[in-house]
Symmetry: C3
Subunit: 297 residues, 3 copies
Amino acid sequence: MKDLVSIRDVEKRWATSIFKLADELDSKPAPRKLAGKVLSTLFFEPSTRTRLSFHTAAARLGISLLDIESVGDSSIVKGESLVDTIKIVDGYADCIVIRHPLEGSARLAADLAQHPVINAGDGGNQHPTQTLIDLYTMNRLKKKISGLHVSLVGDLKYARTMHSLLYGLAMFGAEITLVSPKELQMEKAILEEVKEKFGTKVRISNEMNFRDCDVLYVCRIQKERFADPYEAVRLQQEFRITLESLKGAKDDLIILHPLPKVDEIAPEVDRSEKVRYFEQARYGVPVRMAILSDVMG
Amino acid sequence: MKDLVSIRDVEKRWATSIFKLADELDSKPAPRKLAGKVLSTLFFEPSTRTRLSFHTAAARLGISLLDIESVGDSSIVKGESLVDTIKIVDGYADCIVIRHPLEGSARLAADLAQHPVINAGDGGNQHPTQTLIDLYTMNRLKKKISGLHVSLVGDLKYARTMHSLLYGLAMFGAEITLVSPKELQMEKAILEEVKEKFGTKVRISNEMNFRDCDVLYVCRIQKERFADPYEAVRLQQEFRITLESLKGAKDDLIILHPLPKVDEIAPEVDRSEKVRYFEQARYGVPVRMAILSDVMG
Amino acid sequence: MKDLVSIRDVEKRWATSIFKLADELDSKPAPRKLAGKVLSTLFFEPSTRTRLSFHTAAARLGISLLDIESVGDSSIVKGESLVDTIKIVDGYADCIVIRHPLEGSARLAADLAQHPVINAGDGGNQHPTQTLIDLYTMNRLKKKISGLHVSLVGDLKYARTMHSLLYGLAMFGAEITLVSPKELQMEKAILEEVKEKFGTKVRISNEMNFRDCDVLYVCRIQKERFADPYEAVRLQQEFRITLESLKGAKDDLIILHPLPKVDEIAPEVDRSEKVRYFEQARYGVPVRMAILSDVMG
């Protein structure tokens, strides 16, 4: 693979090889064979966590960083077209990780650049490395994805993470339940796509019941999406993960979250052994190391 | 030692071994045995100098950097708890250098993190690596600390540096004189602590007379601490280091300062051979290299 | 050479050796013999492109970076003199790349620092590495500079790039034509200097005719220089590079630009094979690698 722009570019076989490579890279000191290579992280939107995770992955592999944040007064953007910026950075670096608010921007970059391009978020559209980390975490902690009962909880309408994750889970043959307020249900088109492509029948629910669930994947309900703030608070309360809502859950249920979390998970849940999201965040490093090794190697 | 949170964690023997290692690291090219390791500098307050000195130390050792400044719009902070941030960074890096305005924050980080934590300033509380650099500089330039006559001059009430330095000097057996305006005298509790722990009797003075002094350590009087700005200017004038105030001083007196300095030292003093604060700043690198080698090695 | 402050410090022989080294460094993986060295980029004005190009050059050579931007709230500047800042950074790094709005600031830094200093722009004065990149690009693409017909087009009065480039072209024996609005003609003193020093007779023109031209070097007309904005727009239109203005030009004419460009070159020209400015930007890396190797080696 030259570029990683969308989860739809990813084949199951390639993802599986990335997971295997990530396991290896996590278990022993990384080879320094990419020393002297340069990775550019080109971020037109702030994203500390994704950037730092890529920076760590690069550092572990001996790759040098060209860190470009164009949120401030960067002359690389002021009056300059995105096309020019990409062409110039492509002349400097051996690989570009790009985040840009515009949908399709990463695809444009991949078409323009001679070096590999990795999409780290193009607006409300795709963020494929996050999805690979989510799938890797489930596979690592549960030894499989196929047949796993996964519940996605929270804002399923606007959260980019959730759309790509649904696609990835369907590709790997998981049993999926979507739990959200009616106002924040996932768009039908996405459900139809996975049904057609993978034969996946997704269960829709608005009840906080996780009896049969193996993996609970939570994301935030964004209050700013609501005209009525009281309604937002009410839904947040109703779809919050508490010790109460986990009653009757399997002993080996694991709870994941893309982080940062705010108040969608009660603090007392943080101390539960079911919570694995800090481990999930940590796995961002070996998975991104594996991806960088693959596209830059 | 796993963590370096307070000068009170430091034993004389450990400090002495750090000084010896710093001497070695300053005299020949550093070994690259920490290459591939990752150091996170996690700064919730701006501090260019301390950050750069740690960055240089890491670079010399081949350590890669994860530089996190959370002063701006960093999503690692927005709405996220300090606890979550530390857990995540602990998953990425092999060591965390933290500066945070809250007293006790570094101790909290050390308790949460599995990797070593170095305190680079927690509010008005501790900044132990600065103290080790100050002690190293005296020891290197004067070949001893025990029995050395050291005068601390300036704001002894609010300047964090001075509290820790007094403790360190007492531990190493220096003869200490405190010179400050009455309004800015050091708190009694600190004087009692060093008397009880090390039997140190500190001399208090408000005269700018350095006849017997071997080391003159100056820090800034912060004008913003005064209700009456004219009073601040008057005290600044009175406790300013000038060529006049150095009359009668020993030939081999050395003048130190944590930097940056503003106007507490007259510009003509800068050209004196007594001035060693730029050398002191440079020693920040080998001392921090030694500390990083010790806790990360 | 210890420092690179002005193009006037550069001798033709040294520049030629830099070009040769840049060729070598661009054709194979760079040696890692500068690994462990530290380069400080000390920027008091924003300049993403120059900074990134130096960062890439350093990375390719295994040099670690100390990246200091003093535009924001950096305590390295707040109330501290430039002299103190330079002395401290000189204590940390093995070489300083400095950009500062004050003319003469780089010379001051070179005088103060024991390590080499490279000027990356001191106000409206000098930016010698850009000139070396421009000359390298012409020499690489045209196999010579002497006798080459070079037209400089745009704001020749205020654009720093153009003054240094004129000097460098004259030193290498190019045939030079200056094309600009009357209001933006190059100052007489510079023309007299190159005539006296190199015997160069420069042609002055205000016509967009590039029939005999081998190299067309374009720079931006800054609208903020004009009291009357309509006049600025009119001149911009008149001196804009379009496919029309290139009619009758040689087949192997090459078009260069220091970038970023805004609207001084029509978008359809971007697709012409004559356009080589993205290549020119890329050459910034090997040329700066060669300069760093020379002064830090």
